[in-house]
Symmetry: C2
Subunit: 348 residues, 2 copies
Amino acid sequence: MSRPTVHDIARTAGVSLATVDRVLNARPGVRAKTVARVQTAIRDLGYVRDISAANLARQRQYRLAFVLPEPATAFLSAVRGAVEGLAALAATERADIAIVDVPAFDPHAVARALHDLEGADGVALMAPDTPQVRDAVRRLKARGTVVVALVSDLSDAGRDHFAGINNIAAGRTAGLLMGRFVGPGQAGSIAVIAGSMLARDHVERRKGFDDVLQSDFPRLRALPSVEGRDDAQTVARLLPPLLDRVPDLRGIYSIGAGNRGLVAVLKERRLAGRITVIAHELTPLLRGSLVDGTVDAVISQDVGHVVRSALRVLKAKADGVPIIAAQERIRIDVFLRENLLPSGGEEA
Amino acid sequence: MSRPTVHDIARTAGVSLATVDRVLNARPGVRAKTVARVQTAIRDLGYVRDISAANLARQRQYRLAFVLPEPATAFLSAVRGAVEGLAALAATERADIAIVDVPAFDPHAVARALHDLEGADGVALMAPDTPQVRDAVRRLKARGTVVVALVSDLSDAGRDHFAGINNIAAGRTAGLLMGRFVGPGQAGSIAVIAGSMLARDHVERRKGFDDVLQSDFPRLRALPSVEGRDDAQTVARLLPPLLDRVPDLRGIYSIGAGNRGLVAVLKERRLAGRITVIAHELTPLLRGSLVDGTVDAVISQDVGHVVRSALRVLKAKADGVPIIAAQERIRIDVFLRENLLPSGGEEA
DNA sequence: TTGAAAGCGTTACCAT
DNA sequence: ATGGTAACGCTTTCAA
C-alpha cells in the first residue's frame, strides 16, 4: 500500500474532497460533527499531506528580498553569491528573491530601502543596529512583512528572527585559540582590528574575546580596537603605527574585513608566522593565508547555511508555520591549515 | 508573466505535450528536426522544469537501505537518529529507507546483509574495507544497486561514492591542534587510542596525525596505538598500564569511540586538564568533557550532513543524474569549549 | 453546509 | 514519429 491521499480520507469519511480540504486547512463552513469524522479518518489512515502537490495546486508565490551592504567585502560577495544561487533554486519553489544593495554604515539609506520594500512577504537584512533602522523595521513589520536579521543582529523588538552565529561565542572562541596558540603562561599584547563599532557583530566579538582573555589568559593584554572600516587600505594605514608602539606584541585579532591590508603589513614586516593571527570568515585570501602560515586560525560561518536558514525562516513565518529552532542554529566554524576543504566552503 | 510550462513549449513549437516530454527526458522516437524545434522553444522561453510536478506525476519510489554496525557507540546512535529522522522526511519525498544492523568487525555478516538487499535502488554502508565486503558490494552493484560508503571509505573499485570526511585531513587537524596546544618547542610522548586497525577511517586518522607530528612537531613522539575496540571497558583496562610506562606523557589522541573509559581514567588519575586530550565526534560525553576541561578539542563531522548527503547521492545516482561534488563535501568540524552550540550539533 | 469538477505542471499509456 | 488524454495529490471555484 502507498501513502493515503485526500481521496482515501474522503472515501472513508464519506465526504467530498472539498470538505476534506476545508478540514485540512482549517477553513470555516463545516459542521463540527463532519470535522470530527474527517479528523478521525485522517488519524486512522495516518495521513500526511504531500507538500509539493499542495504548493503545485496552490500556486503560491513568495516575494522576498535580501538587503546587503555595499561596497562588498569578500565575505559579502560570498553572501551575495549564496543568495543568487539560492534565488535560482527558489524560483523553482515559487519564491521570487530580490537583492537590494545599500551603502554600509548608512542607517538612513537602509530605512529608505526598507520603505521601498513594502508589500514584500519577507525581508532578510544586514544592517547596523541603530534607531532609524529599528524604526523602519517596525514599520515593515506593521505592514505584515516578516523581517530576519542576517549575520549582524538587531535588538529583539526589531526583528522576527536572527540568522547568523552567536558573535559573543565567536569572539570567545577566538580568544581561547589566541591564548592557547600563543602558549601557556606567555605574557604580551594582542592587537585588535575591528570594522566599526556601529556593527553589532563586531562589538559582540570584541566583548567575547576580551572576556576569555581576562578570565583564562590574564597575562595577555588586548589593546584598544583599531577601526579599519572593513577596508584594506585603512587597515594598512592604521596598523603600522600601532605595531611601532607595541614592543611585546604576541598576536593580532582581526574582527572584520579588510584583511588584505593586514596580511600585506604582516608580510612587509616579516611578522608572518612569528605572531599568532586570528581572523573571521573563510575568504580566498584567508584560506591562502592559512596555507602559507600567515594566519593561524579563521573563525567562520557557512554563508550557504546562513542564507538558506534565512530563506526557510522567511517562508515559514510568512505562512505562520513554526520553525525548528535547532535546525536554524548556525555553527561557529573553526578553520586551521589542515581542515580546509578542497575548494569552496560550500555544502548543503 | 509566470514561468513557462510544457504547454507553452508545445504551443510555440507546434507539437504535442507528449513530444515535448520526450525531448525533455531525452526519450527516443522523435525526429531530429522536431527535437531541434522543441529545444529552440525551450531555450527561447527560458523554460525550467518544475521538479515537484514532475515527481508528482512520476510516482517514483526509491527503495534504499542504510547498513550500520552494532553495537552502537554514541556516534553510531547519532547516525541512526539522523537516518531515522531523514526516513520520516524522505517518506514524503517518495523514498523508503530501511535501517539494517550488522555486527561490527564482522565482514561475513556484512556480506550476508548485502546479499539480502538485492533489488534495492541504493545502499549506504558503514563497514570494514575487507575483501569479503568489497566482493559483496561488487555483486550488489552488478545487480544495479548504487552503493555509497558511509563515514569509513571502501577502496575505489568497491563503491560509487564516499559520504564522510577526509580522515587523513582529520588526523592532520588533530595533530596540528595537539602540537600547538601542547606548546611551542615542548617535547614528550603522545598516547594514541584507536578502535581497530581494520577500520579504514581509524587507520587514515592515525596516518594524518603521525605525518603532522613528524613534520611540524618533531619533539613530540606518538606512541603505538592501543586498540580499544571502540569500547569503554577495554579502553579503561588498556590505558592505565600504558600511562604507567610513559613518564613524559604530554597528550592523548583518541581516534575512535569508547571515550567514556578514557575520561574515567583521566579523572581517576587527576590528569584532567593537565595533559592535552583530543578526540573525535561530538557526543554528549565529549561535549561535557569540553565544558569541564577534560578534553581540549573534538574533531567532528556533522552526522546530519553525512546522512543527507548519502541520501542525495543515492537518489541522484539511482536516477543517473550528476551530483554537485562541492555540495557533497563534508566539513571537518573543530569544536572547542567556546564554540559548542546550545543543544544538539544538528542543522540543515 | 456540502459537493462536482476544473485546474496546477508533469508524465505515461494507448492510439494513430 | 506523433498526439490525445488520463493520471499524480491537492486546492479552488461555482453551484446546489
